[in-house]
Amino acid sequence: MPFIPHTEDDIRDMLAAIGVGDVESLFDEIPDGLRSGRLPPMLPALQEMQVTRLMHERATRDLVGPCFIGAGAYRHHVPAAVWQLATRGEFYSAYTPYQAEASQGTLQLIYEYQSMMCGLMAMDVSNASLYDGASGLGEAMLMAVRANQRVRSGRILVADSLHPVYRRVAETVVGNQGVILESLPLDAGSGVVDTAALGAIDDVVAVVIPQPNFFGRLEDVDRLVDWAHGGGALVIGVVNPLAMALLKPPGEWGEAGADIACGDGQPLGVPLSSGGPYYGFLCCRRSMVRRMPGRIVGRTVDLDGRTGYTLTLQAREQHIRRSRATSNICTNQGLVVTASTIHMALLGAEGLRRVAATCHARTRELTAALSTLPGVAPLHAGPCFHERALDLGQPAAPVLERLAARGILGGYALGQHDPALGDAILVCATECIEASDIAAYRDALAESLQEAA
């Protein structure tokens, strides 16, 4: 019992105070058949020293060389200050800031986070986070359904260039509420939504537009937004927030801007960490704030007129509104938002812009280097942000395995989602990739391709 402070004396005295003879008596309201005599055999208890050694061994086992995989999770430099601050006990071990006066640290920080997200997205309001980008998209869709009161069809158009897993997750989230996801088709050659084929739009709740899209390509967001708005649909932008330091933000797309912006905050200071915890961000127009899911912090004053911060608009939430809440979300991703806020403060607009531009530059260098190899060519024409699909000219999965054996995580096999793309991989280079990494990848790829041939 590593974390239990009770001494024998404590136990004796406390039982006496309660008036029972033993601890077991405290469970006497549990019917006999349900008081489990014994648990099945389990892994034995370990001292901290032992579990430390075990975890060091396991962590080391998974370590490899440079990583060229992206596909929704990106390796970026995270300043050492970020998590040293975020894991301070006062942030790490606090609860949701329901007692505002005893939580001004977290509350002010979330207010700052909301402001930063609004800045990055050029939107009016932000919530305090959702679970992740993919499930957050589901919440954004439900919000659109609530907000677009003129359309009752439940139909949402989703660009086929959206991350396929995002679409699946959103489907899980919204599928039980009569929302129907339909496809906005892709132009195979360019890897973006086929704007030439856009017909008139009718009775559609919302259109979901990724930027950059799953293939790293840039959508013609201005055109798509105006088209969607023209047909009475709302626009949900799904964006990489780091890219928004460089690219036009959702709030400025087209004539009127996107109505909702969401995505995954991972590129802003969150380590890869096997896929989580990350966080979903969600921004919208001011007019939609009462439709928003999740917590929101507002600035106000105290009894003395001094500035303070508090959770607000709680009447949207499950603990007040129960079955009529805007979502069931309660615990969100607070600590990750804490880290991300510190990260954004450290990088600032100029820093994030530089990181984004460097990612773009490294990816150009990477794809140029790899494309010199015989049989390797970009799958799509046109500019990319920091990912690009490459055709390897032979089945991709075994090539990736051979690369991994050489210590290189070479990319994401696109055949997983589209058998027609069985020869293609999605590669990504962030600012962490150096010229020597690219050279090593090119050499390893040359060997791996030849091994098969």
Binding site: S135, I296, T338
Partner: protein
């Protein structure tokens, strides 16, 4: 004297932490001009020291487990072992890409697989998926599984989920997100669900029932087996909201009670940090018949080692709830905790959480506070009502809660469950010492004394915190949600 500003106010144009971004100026390469941003986003322009100082100072304004007793009912604010944090943040784990090849994932997958098994065994279910990212997402997964089960059987008439009136707000909200109607069940005078009402409520429309046991009233649902029989006989399934699992961990298993699907708040019972609001993890366990519907991915094992189970392996799964594998780093922390406890340690959690709660309840009752269910055992938490104090002294539960902050204790959960007037839901957890409990009792007694002598002192509390009581009405009415340069 020194007021903390917003980080934005501390900035100056052109200032930045220059060590943190590439030193090369921006080259936008082949990105077309019309795709580019024209004005930079409004973000702070500050130095590295300013950031460190600002957020260090902000942190100090929080109450937390690491600094205060935090007896927040229903939230299980216990010690979050520092080893979990250190080990989950080893470079090998932090740098692991979620799409890394199976061969490069064996260390991480081993942890996931072993935790799945440990949670399965301690809850008495048939299988566990760790992918939900919080309790509420676990609930969502569970109710979606119930729905998938009925649908798979062609049983389309089941449109209702039953929820006790004392339930946590996420329960009804989840049922609605899964497309169900909510039907509330009343509580009887002893804190159990009204069995007669349950009998009347069940029927062919009943998809299932969501229960917390021990309930949010702090008592064990004694007729749980009868309830299970009633619901099952009506063709419904039972969902267990595991937020209170800490109370019975290893002492009584939801699987044995007849539950078909459960979630566990790893950020409560398995002591991963709450982080000022998250992240959590809402592991979900299923009985045999709901196994096929568990959310993916899960960790599996075959002769080649560990691997992910996905759509291919689990064609009936309700699907994915996140882009990757849920809150992986939280899962690692829970794994470390579970390994440090072992089976014996898990049982002790329940025993000492219960001992602390019953001690605190007994002592407060002796001090004259109104324990709401005096004839019942406390589970790991219990309710006192300040109805009398509110009436006689015009000092509310909220006032007392705020005054406790001045005494250096976080307030218990106030005004939940909704059915108890002026209530405080108090959960001390097993990691607190008896002295801490005694200090808390003394503070409550002292505050009641103050309320008699000088009620305004209590009504206007807190006095010794960074701010005094905040104007929540103004916050909601004059919405100020985002800093803008003036």
């Amino acid at each position: 004297m020194r007021q903390d500003q917003l980080i934005f106010d501390e900035g100056r144009p052109g200032r930045r932490a220059r060590g943190q971004a590439p030193s090369e100026p921006v080259d936008t390469g082949d990105l077309p001009a019309e795709s580019l941003r024209t004005t930079p986003p409004i973000l702070p322009e500050v130095s590295e020291l300013q950031v460190v100082r600002h957020y260090t100072r902000l942190s100090q304004k929080n109450f937390s487990i690491d600094t205060q007793f935090y007896p927040l009912g229903s939230c299980t604010m216990k010690y979050n072992p520092r080893a979990g944090n250190a080990l989950a943040m080893l470079p090998g784990f932090l740098d692991r890409h979620p799409w890394a090849a199976t061969a490069q994932s064996q260390g991480y997958l081993a942890c996931v697989h072993e935790l799945q098994d440990m949670l399965r065994d301690v809850t008495g279910l048939a299988g566990v998926s760790l992918t939900p990212m919080a309790g509420a997402q676990g609930e969502f997964a569970g109710v979606a599984m119930i729905r998938a089960y009925h649908r798979a059987r062609g049983d389309h008439g089941r449109t209702e989920i039953l929820v006790p009136d004392a339930a946590h707000g996420t329960n009804p909200a989840t049922a609605v997100m899964c497309g169900y109607k909510v039907r509330e069940l009343p509580t009887d005078g002893e804190g159990d669900v009204d069995l007669q009402a349950l009998r009347e409520a069940v029927g062919p429309r009943t998809a299932g029932i969501m229960l917390t046991n021990p309930s949010t009233l702090g008592v064990f649902e004694r007729r749980i087996r009868q309830m299970a029989d009633i619901v099952h006989e009506a063709g419904g399934l039972l969902y267990y909201d595991g937020a209170n699992l800490n109370a019975i961990l290893g002492k009584s298993r939801p699987g044995d009670m007849g539950f078909d699907v459960i979630h566990i708040n790893l950020h409560k019972t398995f002591s991963t940090p709450h982080g000022g609001g998250g992240p959590g993890a809402g592991a979900i366990g299923a009985s045999e018949r709901l196994l096929p519907y568990l959310p993916i991915p899960m960790a599996g094992r075959d002769e080649n080692g560990y691997r992910w189970l996905t759509e291919v392996d689990c064609p009936h799964s309700i699907g994915r709830l996140s882009a990757f594998m849920g809150n992986a780093g939280v899962i690692l922390r829970a794994y470390v905790y579970a390994r440090m406890l072992g089976a014996e340690g898990m049982v002790r959690v329940a025993e000492f959480a219960t001992l602390n709660a019953n001690y605190l309840m007994t002592r407060l009752r002796a001090e004259g506070f109104q324990v709401w269910f005096p004839q019942r055992r406390a589970s790991h938490e219990f309710i006192i009502s300040l109805k009398r104090e509110a009436k006689e002294l015009n000092v509310t539960a909220m006032d007392v809660a705020k005054r406790l902050l001045d005494y250096g204790y976080h307030a218990p959960t106030a005004y939940f469950p909704l059915l108890v007037p002026e209530c405080l839901l108090i959960e001390p957890t097993e990691t607190e010492t008896r002295e801490e409990l005694d200090g808390f009792i003394a503070a409550l007694v002292a505050i009641r004394q103050e309320a008699r002598r000088d009620p305004e002192l209590v009504r206007s509390a807190p006095h010794d915190l960074p701010v005094r009581r905040l104007d929540e009405v103004r916050a909601a009415r004059e919405l100020d949600l985002c800093w803008t340069p003036d």
